[in-house]
């Protein structure tokens, strides 16, 4: 009898934590999202009126930022995938005894704060940085063009900041591929490119899916990169939510936006995972 109870007892602390710090806030958030300000009350004082039109209003008012969030997150995810795949592949197959050291290098940026790293990008891309001048003298960008406060900088910052989240699952997936299956593919008349398309890529799909999710989801809700590296023209949904909460103190709109963002991500992710068909992968 005791043995049967033990797993449930072990679950208790985790369940309790999730209940208090996830479930209750979510319910509270949902509750807030349909409230309206109390007439004559202080800022931030709302009452429940079940006004579901909050969602529509919030969406219409911020649809630009909404689209931008998903656009930037998508671009950053694709860029991160393109950078991380060869990197993870090289570590897994060519890393040899330096594998672990290289993995430490991948997560090394985590030893510094997220904010500091993003501010560092501002320096790198800024007027005093070493990127702008060479690009200008080479004629890649016009003399008047700046790199900071631009969509380019925001996407670069996101790509950089989320790169380890892409690299690690990819590495875990690629590292599990038996190199002999790649040899077998070559043995069975597939050249290097075909082997990649037909064997390596399908076998690393769990990593691709996990990596893109771990990059895309936080990137879509991110506001730090847009705040530090962007301009008013590059504001993302995260920025709107942040300002609604902390500056304008418009809790219902912020809550409605949060839910819309969450739901949209959930739908996109479900479609994506279905399409990628990873359920049947080992």
């Amino acid at each position: 009898m005791n043995k049967i109870k033990t797993p449930y007892l072990l679950l208790l602390p985790g369940m309790g934590f999730i209940f208090v710090f996830f479930l209750l806030p979510i319910v509270n958030l949902a509750n807030t999202s349909t409230q309206t300000p109390i007439g004559g009350g202080d800022t931030g004082e709302n009452e429940q009126t079940w006004r579901f039109a909050n969602y529509l209003d919030a969406f219409i008012e911020n649809r630009e930022q909404f689209g931008r969030s998903f656009l930037y997150a998508s671009i950053a995810t694709v860029l991160a995938l393109l950078i991380a795949y060869p990197l993870a592949y090289a570590i897994a197959f060519k890393g040899g005894k330096y594998k672990n050291f290289m993995l430490v290098l991948v997560i090394a940026p985590f030893f510094t704060s997220f904010l500091l790293r993003t501010i560092a990008w501002k320096q790198i891309l800024g007027e005093q940085g070493f990127v702008v001048q060479p690009l200008r003298s080479l004629g890649v960008i016009a003399e008047s063009t700046t790199l900071t406060s631009s969509a380019f900088a925001v996407v670069m910052g996101m790509t950089y900041n989320f790169l380890p989240f892409m690299t690690l699952p990819l590495y875990a997936s690629i590292d599990r591929i038996d190199p002999r299956t790649l040899e077998a593919s070559g043995d069975l008349y597939a050249n290097g490119l075909t082997t990649f398309r037909k064997v390596t890529l399908p076998l690393s799909m769990p990593g691709v899916v996990a990596g893109t999710l771990l990059t895309f989801i936080p990137a879509a809700g991110d506001y730090v990169n847009a705040t530090i590296l962007g301009s008013p023209q590059t504001k993302m949904l995260g920025n709107v939510i942040e300002s609604r909460y902390f500056r304008i103190v418009d809790y219902p709109t912020a809550a409605a936006l949060s839910f819309t963002l969450m739901a949209t991500i959930l739908v996109l992710v479900t479609i994506y995972v279905r399409k990628a068909g990873t359920e049947e992968l080992v």
């Binding site: 002999r180 299956t181 040899e183 077998a184 070559g186 043995d187 069975l188 037909k198």
Partner: protein, 383 residues
């Protein structure tokens, strides 16, 4: 794929192949020719270079020196996918993301063949697993995976099929069954099979020709019977079955035979089976060729007297004796339990005799222990 290499057919020829990794020489100046349609085995202990040789034939490794040709086509530097050669890998290396059907169709599809159904089903029938077409490799047992790996290679009708320890992961009973089946399939399809193994019994059961490899070189090549009855080196004598090697000197000649003096006792050795370079020689006799007797009535054959039974093991089909000879060497004797004679007991004085035709002679300067330390059932994960 219309290049010359992919359509090459004929005998496989390795000429002075060397493969070195830094200072380590895995394969050392190896030359051999494998006739089209034969079942050829590369046999040797771990690290003897047999897998490296196989990988060079497959194109997975490039020789440091020498050349490989198939028929009249030089394939030394062609890529694996350009060679009409397929491999059954040691761990099968099936594609885990594809069904069994697609695993087998893989090679056909890569060569642009659209209609694969008939060929794939034929291959599945050949290995007697047509009902597994839609499964994934992980849902199959080891023995089934092994057959699928074979079907995946054979379906391409290669000029050459390479088998890298294909039965190593199977249990003994299944291994014996697959040995017979593989041999049957080879006859059926008529493709040249090159089989790498460290299991001498497996090599002898299946192959027409065996090359025994040791330290990157071929020690001896021949039919299983040739290698067993007439080994040319101590390594071959010990690696293929067991041998009694007795030190002696050639003291004379008698027609087709040499007279060999073994610690004062004279025996006869056929010249065609004598591989010594001077008068110093090891006389070799397989344990089951010995006859053990109480009387000195030995017949026309070779006779050694003065033995004493040191140990007796009854193992059903035969009884194994350790017989201590006057010069201090213990000889192994396997007696069939077919004569109704009560076994000899420890301490009994006995003589040993055998037919002279069963004696083979090895160079006297060889290491009589070469090839004995290797336990063929150890280290399956080789090289």
């Amino acid at each position: 794929m219309s290049d010359v290499a992919s359509s090459a057919r004929g005998d496989l020829k390795l000429s002075q192949i060397t493969k070195s990794y830094g200072d380590f020489i895995a394969v050392d100046d190896l030359s051999l020719s494998i006739p089209e349609g034969s079942f050829f085995a590369l046999l040797g202990p771990s690290g003897c270079g047999k897998t490296t040789t196989l990988r060079m034939i497959a194109g997975l490794e490039e020789p440091s020196n020498g050349s490989i040709s198939l028929g009249t086509t030089d394939i030394t530097h062609t890529k694996p996918y350009q060679r009409p050669i397929n491999t059954v890998f040691q761990n099968y290396a099936l594609f885990p993301h594809l069904t069994i059907f697609e695993n087998i169709a893989f090679g056909l599809r890569r060569r642009g063949i659209k209609e694969v159904d008939e060929a794939v089903n034929k291959a599945l029938n050949l290995v007697e697993l047509p009902h597994l077409a839609q499964r994934k490799p992980t849902q199959l047992s080891g023995g089934q995976q092994q057959r699928i790996a074979l079907a995946r290679a054979i379906v391409n009708r290669p000029a050459l099929l390479l088998l890298d320890e294909p039965l190593g992961a199977l249990d003994l009973k299944l291994r014996r069954q697959m040995q017979i089946e593989l041999k049957w399939i080879q006859k059926e399809v008529g493709i040249t099979f090159v089989h790498v193994t460290h299991d001498q019994e497996e090599a002898m059961t299946m192959a027409d020709t065996i090359a025994v490899m040791n330290e990157g070189r071929i020690e001896q090549m021949g039919s299983p019977a040739d290698l067993y009855d007439n080994p040319e080196t101590a390594f071959v004598a010990n690696f293929l079955g067991q041998s009694n090697l007795i030190k002696g000197t050639i003291s004379g000649s008698d027609g087709d035979s040499q007279i060999v003096d073994l610690f004062g006792q004279k025996i006869s050795l056929q010249k065609s089976r004598s591989h010594g370079v001077d008068n110093s020689i090891y006389a070799g006799i397989r344990p089951e060729k010995f006859r053990i007797s109480r009387l000195e009535t030995a017949t026309s054959g070779n006779l050694l007297t003065g033995g004493k039974v040191e140990d007796v093991s009854y193992i059903g089909v035969s009884t194994q004796y350790q017989v201590l000879m006057p010069w201090g060497q213990e000889l192994m004797v396997f007696e069939q339990n077919d004569d109704g004679v009560a076994p000899f007991s420890v301490g009994e004085s006995v003589n040993i005799s055998w037919e002279p035709i069963f004696t083979f002679g090895l160079r006297g300067d060889e290491d009589a222990e070469a090839g004995t330390e290797v336990n063929p059932d150890e280290d399956l994960a080789e090289e």
